[in-house]
Amino acid sequence: MTLEILKKGTSENFLLKQIIRKNFTSKYKDSILGVLWSFFNPLITMALLTAIFSTVFAKSIENFPVYFLTGRIVIDFFNSGTKIAMTSFKRNRSILNKIYVPRYIFALGGICSEFINFLMSVIVLIAIMIVTQAPFYPMALLSVIPVFTLFLLIVGVGLILSILCTKFSDIEYLYRIFTSLLIYACAIFYPITMVPQPLRGYMELNPVYGIIAQFREFVMFGRFPSMKLMLTTFLFSLALFIIGIIVYRKYKNRITLEL
């Protein structure tokens, strides 16, 4: 109640917009190419991995560049989104410690700016699809479903991490290890069929993999993924989203005390 009165007559949307802008510009502040890195980054790794793996997996993966990019942009969004949310309170401690600002806005703003980055890499994906003459399916538009699921997942995980990060400073380093492991666990540059069965079942439980698989089904093959995969992924993400909000709500008042 009190806090609502405090912020009466102000626009949180405006603040969110400003924070997104700030995050976005500060990411490329000292580089000559600036925002263009958002395009080059996935392109370069794609070129590299295509050169290495396209012949190895030639039989099982038809269009390696597109296969790789679809996975890569999703996992990139997940990793950078959760990371930026995790450190958002810490990075803005000078503001949070002096003025009352709804704290989640810093986490959300970070995630949103990474989402813009994601959209830019989608442009790269489309360009590569044109170059490699991959077919475009109308079904590809439905890929907003996994993207939405991904967003929920990132907000949930990001909020949990951001609270943990104010309490434990080494979460940051642990999570960095976790994210690099996650890249290998999500079948980004190898076909999932390579993985033997019992292990593969567990892998499919991973919501990030689930989202990548859905995304590929829609974009690359223009078909509907299995209902089971969609449902488990969505429920998993939703659960994490809700847990994230509960954790944030429970601990938001202690944030400034721990910073």
């Binding site: 102000t10 500060s26 400034t256």
Partner: protein, 408 residues
């Protein structure tokens, strides 16, 4: 010595060196005590060894008096010569007096009469003060009995504690190890704010005083919403402008223009408001020539000018100040103080933290004394300040006693 035989000479007086201004008076009177006016008198000064220093001519006035004032730094003889005839009285012709020395002045100050005046004055002051206090208390009563919507800030039993300790666990590694070893941290709970209840009514100017670490800043942070108390209730009516940190969240790569919008957003302004006030902010900050440069090229003075201009563009209901600050160069300092003063003097509620008791007395009418996280006293500003100063005096006395060096 003189040309005329019948001249009267007096060479009796030896004046001791007094390093001060000395006045001499000579009264010329007839034997039947009538003054002789328009008579020429010559003063001649000699050193004690007989060497002549200087001479002065004077003419007596209608009271028969001649007068001379000069500085003397060594012992002198003085010779007074006048044209004598039988009508002159020869006794007690000369008198001298000196200006009071510092010691004498001090003595005079302590004079009972002056003391009496002083005590009368302070008595008057006391009476006035008591009247003020009475008036204040009555006013507070009126406010309290009135409807509740005249409250700007209300705290009810607010408590906030920090966990402090040398071995605060701040990483997972330690957390896991300690959990396994069952050697959990020894938590020391420090109550920064302890059961604080207070009411500040609309339009009141309130000063917050207390020693360092008493919990003033914590209380301000609770009121401005940065900290949420563990227990208790905080009620605030109206929007708050905390002037605690100027330019919070400035992005050094942003231009001044972009930072106005960023900082404005953080302060809780909305876009339309900022757009409409943009020119005003720019004009007040005097940074027209630099506004498109990134602020990393700004000097610290320029940064605080910009921050101040953004922070004070609103007309808040409640203004929170940590020391009345003037920022920037001489001109801007004056301007910013004027702006603050006009804000303070308008009809808003002001909460001021300051270590300058003088400032608190001049701005506020109510004071809250915070001591060790608790409210020690709330009341009329002079009363609280006096008590506070008294306590400060005692505290520093105790401390100086402790740190007195030992003689070997």
């Amino acid at each position: 010595m003189s040309e005329e035989e019948n001249n009267n000479k007096i060479k009796t007086q030896i004046i001791p060196a007094i390093h001060n201004t000395v006045s001499f008076r000579t009264f010329l009177k007839t034997e039947d005590n009538k003054p002789i006016s328009d008579e020429k008198v010559k003063y001649i000064f000699y050193r004690t060894n007989g060497e002549k220093i200087s001479e002065y001519d004077r003419t007596s006035d209608e009271n028969g008096m001649t007068h001379i004032t000069l500085n003397i730094s060594s012992d002198v003889y003085i010779e007074v010569i006048y044209k004598g005839n039988s009508q002159y009285e020869k006794k007690e012709l000369l008198s001298y007096k000196t200006k009071p020395t510092q010691e004498e002045k001090d003595l005079k100050k302590g004079h009972s009469y002056q003391k009496k005046i002083a005590s009368e004055k302070s008595g008057e002051k006391k009476r006035k003060r008591q009247e003020k206090i009475k008036e204040f208390n009555e006013h507070q009563k009126v406010l309290e009995e009135a409807q509740n919507d005249n409250i700007a800030i209300e705290l009810k039993n607010v408590t906030l504690s920090f966990k402090v300790g040398k071995d605060k666990i701040d990483n997972i590694k330690e957390y896991v190890i300690r959990t396994i070893k069952r050697n959990k941290e020894k938590k020391t709970i420090f109550k920064a704010t302890d059961d604080v209840s207070l009411k500040i009514y609309k339009g009141e100017k309130v000063g917050l005083i207390g020693f360092n670490g008493a919990g003033k800043s914590t209380l301000l942070k609770i009121i401005s919403g940065v900290y949420t108390p563990d227990e208790g209730e905080v009620n605030i009516n109206g929007n708050i402008a905390p002037l605690l940190s100027l330019g919070a969240g400035f992005d050094k790569n942003y231009s001044g223009r972009e930072n106005i919008f960023l900082n404005g957003a953080i302060l809780g302004y909305n876009e339309e408001f900022l757009k409409s006030k943009y020119d005003e902010i720019l004009e007040f900050s005097e940074l027209e020539d630099f506004i498109d440069l990134p602020v990393k090229n700004y000097s610290s003075g320029m940064l605080s000018k910009l921050g101040f201009s953004i922070a004070t563009i609103v007309e808040p209901d409640i203004l929170i100040l940590d020391e009345v600050l003037g920022v920037g160069d001489v001109n801007f300092r004056k301007k910013s103080r004027e702006k603050l003063n006009s804000l303070i003097e308008s009809n808003i509620t002001v909460l001021l933290v300051s270590h300058s008791i003088k400032e608190i007395r001049s701005i506020c009418e109510k004071a809250i004394w915070i001591d060790k996280g608790k409210v020690r006293e709330i009341g009329e500003v002079n009363q609280v300040c006096d008590n506070y100063l008294e306590a400060a005096k005692n505290a520093s006395k105790d401390k100086t006693k402790k740190i007195k060096p030992k003689r070997f």
